[in-house]
């Protein structure tokens, strides 16, 4: 039987097109005629686009030009010196320059607190939450607006503006909308018909109308609804509008979390003899809120993008300061104003994309925990 092979021969390597780079190419770029066609046209588009972007952002960009002359040259790219020159204005608008430390400390402490609350493995979040939702708003209000007794001079709100106000509007939105949204969501799922009706009506009403009309309402109608000498400050009006708006959206996110909760959790809590508030506070909400963290962050992203609309009621938000800076005759020029908008676009993108990634990360963590 010597013609029978006793030692198996070494397996043949797979064919060229089924391994290595070729396989990868065939699977990812050339899996069919349409796919290949798309690949080639996309490559052609990239060949055209990448040099354009390179020229705009790097090669032809103007890094320093104190008077903006270089930015007015034909073919000039991104005018970074315009951004650098106007950065303070973008950040604080007309807030007195010798007082901006107040703004900075507010923003930094806000960032620290938010990181604390959002960091998955951070400790004593209860304290952080109390600080963020109760102490922080009051402290920051006095700090920003002024407190004569502490020799902090008053800075009227009409001087507030820029990135700082955009962040402020979103912060107020989140600080008010979380508790507000939780209350509304609980109300909407309540057994009590009146409570349910009022909450549902509010949520559906606010979600059914555009944000701009809510802002209009807050700006022109709110002063009419209160006694004459109560007329709220011009910055407070859109803040109230934003808070109402964000609360309604947050309520729906929280409601999703409540609905996803296992019925056994409610029954278990009731079996222990907990009152309704105790059940919500100790059993249901901690779990429900954790599951909807991604939804909360997404709502916040939406809110942050929507803050650009407050310009419609005359608040000098970031985008409005970009528009104002563009009208400075010293920096007039078509490419210069484009630079302002590009910068604004990058700014919003970095912020929102960062938050979106965080939300995705949380989603993965949470789902992996639940799969177990």
């Amino acid at each position: 039987m010597s013609f029978v092979r006793t030692i198996p021969s070494a397996p043949l390597p797979p064919p060229v097109e089924a391994r290595g780079a070729v396989l990868w190419l065939r699977q990812n770029l050339l899996s069919g005629p349409f796919s290949a066609l798309f690949t080639f046209s996309a490559c052609a588009a990239l060949l055209w686009l990448v040099p354009q972007l390179w020229h705009y952002f790097v090669a032809d960009a103007v890094l320093s030009s104190p008077d903006g002359q270089a930015c007015r040259q034909p073919g000039a790219g991104m005018c970074w010196s315009f951004i650098a020159n106007k950065m303070e204005f973008f950040l604080y608008s007309s807030y007195p320059r010798d007082q901006v430390w107040r703004v900075n400390s507010c923003l930094v402490s806000g960032a620290v607190l938010i990181t604390w609350l959002l960091w998955p493995s951070a400790r004593s979040k209860r304290l952080g939450g109390a600080l963020f939702f109760l102490v922080y708003p009051v402290a920051c209000f006095w700090l920003l607006h002024g407190f004569e007794a502490l020799s902090l001079r008053t800075v009227p709100t009409n001087l507030w503006g820029g990135i700082f106000v955009s962040l402020l509007v979103s912060l107020v939105g989140i600080v008010v909308s979380l508790p507000g949204g939780i209350l509304l969501a609980l109300g909407r799922r309540s057994q009590l018909p009146v409570v349910r009706f009022v909450s549902t009506l509010f949520i559906e009403f606010v979600r059914g109308v555009p944000f701009i009309t809510v802002l209009f309402m807050a700006n022109t109608m709110l002063p009419l609804f209160v006694p004459e000498n109560w007329s709220p400050d011009r910055l407070v009006r859109p803040l109230i509008g934003v808070s109402l708006f964000a609360s309604a959206y947050m309520a729906e996110v929280v409601r999703g979390g409540l609905q996803a909760m296992d019925k056994g959790q409610y029954e278990g809590a009731q079996a222990l003899g907990l009152t309704w508030w105790q059940m919500m506070r100790l059993i249901i909400l901690p779990q429900a809120l954790t599951t909807v963290i991604p939804g909360i962050v997404n709502t916040f992203i939406g809110l942050f993008k929507d803050t650009t609309l407050v310009a419609v009621v005359g608040i000098a938000d970031f985008l409005r300061t970009v528009e104002t800076a563009r009208l400075d005759p010293a920096w007039a020029g078509p490419t210069i104003s484009t630079s302002g908008y590009v910068f604004a676009g990058l700014f919003y993108f970095v912020f929102c994309y960062g938050m979106a990634r965080y939300s995705l990360l949380m989603e993965r963590r949470l789902s992996s925990g639940r799969k177990r």
């Binding site: 690949t39 209009f216 979106a356």
Partner: protein
């Protein structure tokens, strides 16, 4: 036997519930009453109108896009309808386009092609994470800047074409031949060569056609001149169809066509159920829809004329105009919303069990058919609720028109009319009610559709 322990009223859940509710009702009622009372007295004190008398007063201002007749001597009420119709137009067109683009991008995100996949994710991430307002401003600028003034308008005839030289044509021909050969011989890397060849051959064909147009010159260009289509930074001007007597017959024929094709569709379905035989529904209904109106059109003596736009003074007069504001708003809304729709489509498709696709493949369905007949119908049930939300968002976001000067409801009514009349409460209340009604209407329509899709599940 023990009687249940008596509990004080304060601890009885029913009583407590009632107390909570009464308290809430009283608080809400008080706030509403207080607000209304304050509003009335404040408005009276400030001389702000408290009724709707302004509705029938002369508006006195003009609007640059009016789909119903309107002029400065029309009433404020008329201006309201103009604004509302403009909103509906943008929302309607936007919803259709955003759905199409959103589905394409959503499917692309799951494509096997790496570049298509990356393009789709870059698209979605970039557009979702930049405020819509910024995008609208960008599109408005991007449309206005490159377009010429009316005097230098682009028209069909003024687009000159450069002809390819002989070398290009030869190369293209060789490429097309190579592609064909590769396809026939199924060579290794066939797909690369096929694609390259198809691309080059397509280009060759295009250039060939263009050079034909260019050489036969006169006739073709002359025709284009009379097309009456002009593009400049005041908008796109196209001839306005004017229907003469007898055009109602064409409309009737079109209606008949729709009815007949619907009937044929029902018949074809029944037949397929009975015998398993398919009928060319699409072909037949297309024929019905085109042929019937055409016959009526010819029979009634071609009751159609065109009003051509003519350059007079500063701008084109006559014809129809699509304004740059409209284009910018639609483009911005469509691309922004499409990014969100793409995400819902992706998650919807991913929610369909993988076995469905594999089973379809096992039955021998091609990829496109699998998607169309098996995956999407099932995905639709997951997609529709968030899709409805996106439609509502698009409608609501159309109010950003106010930032680029498109005369929608908010710009015309909650803007100009509010300012001219000072009737803030009435105007804003009406605006909000309109959007609420639109939201309800969209939700209802989508719920209807959703019910149909759910029934199909069986």
């Amino acid at each position: 036997m023990r009687t249940p322990p008596t509990i004080s009223l304060l601890h009885d859940p029913r009583w407590r519930g009632a107390i909570w509710q009464v308290a809430l009702a009283v608080i809400v009622g008080f706030l509403l009453w207080e607000a209304a009372d304050n509003a009335m007295s404040n408005m009276r004190a400030r001389g702000i109108p408290t009724n709707f008398d302004f509705w029938n007063r002369t508006a006195g201002f003009d609007i640059n896009q009016t789909l119903i007749s309107y002029s400065a001597v029309s009433t404020y009420g008329r201006a309201f309808w103009v604004g509302l119709i403009n909103t509906l137009v943008v929302a309607g067109i936007g919803i259709v386009l955003a759905t199409v683009i959103g589905f394409v991008i959503g499917v692309m995100r799951l494509s096997t092609n790496l570049l298509a996949r990356s393009f789709a994710s870059v698209y979605v991430e970039a557009l979702r994470n930049i405020p819509l307002l910024l995008q609208l401003l960008f599109w408005y600028n991007a449309i206005l800047v490159p377009l010429p003034a009316p005097r230098g308008s682009l028209s069909m005839s003024s687009i000159t074409l450069s002809l390819p030289d002989t070398a290009t044509l030869v190369v293209s021909a060789i490429a097309a031949g190579a592609a064909f050969a590769a396809w026939r011989l199924s060579l290794r890397f066939a797909s690369i060569v096929t694609a390259l060849g198809v691309a080059v051959a397509l280009m060759a064909l295009l250039f060939g056609a263009l050079s034909f147009v260019g050489q036969s010159g006169g006739g073709m260009l002359h025709f284009a001149d009379h097309l009456g289509v002009y593009l400049n930074n005041r908008g796109l001007f196209i001839p306005e169809p004017q229907f003469g007597a007898g055009s109602e017959w064409v409309l009737l024929a079109f209606g008949l066509g729709i009815a007949l094709s619907l009937g044929y569709g029902v018949y074809a379905r029944a037949r397929q159920m009975r015998t398993g035989k398919q009928s060319p529904v699409l072909l037949v209904s297309m024929c019905l829809l085109v042929a019937l109106p055409l016959i009526a059109f010819e029979a009634s003596g071609r009751p159609l004329a065109f009003a051509f736009p003519v350059l007079r003074g500063f701008n084109f007069q006559g014809g129809m105009r699509i304004s740059p504001e409209f284009v910018a708003l639609t483009l911005g809304l469509v691309l922004y919303t499409a990014a969100f729709i793409a995400e819902t489509v992706r998650s919807g498709i991913q929610a369909v069990a993988k076995g469905q696709g594999e089973a379809a493949a096992a039955l021998g369905l091609r990829q496109g058919l699998t998607l169309r007949l098996v995956v999407l119908p099932q995905a639709m049930r997951v997609i529709i609720p968030p899709l409805t939300n996106q439609y509502l968002n698009l409608t609501k976001n159309s109010s950003l028109a106010v930032f680029i000067g498109y005369p929608d409801l908010v710009q015309v009514f909650a803007g100009t009319v509010l300012n001219q009349t000072g009737a803030a409460v009435q105007v804003i209340a009406v605006t909000m009610v309109v959007y609420l009604a639109l939201s309800l209407l969209t939700s209802m329509l989508m719920a209807l559709y959703n019910r149909r899709m759910a029934l199909a599940e069986r």
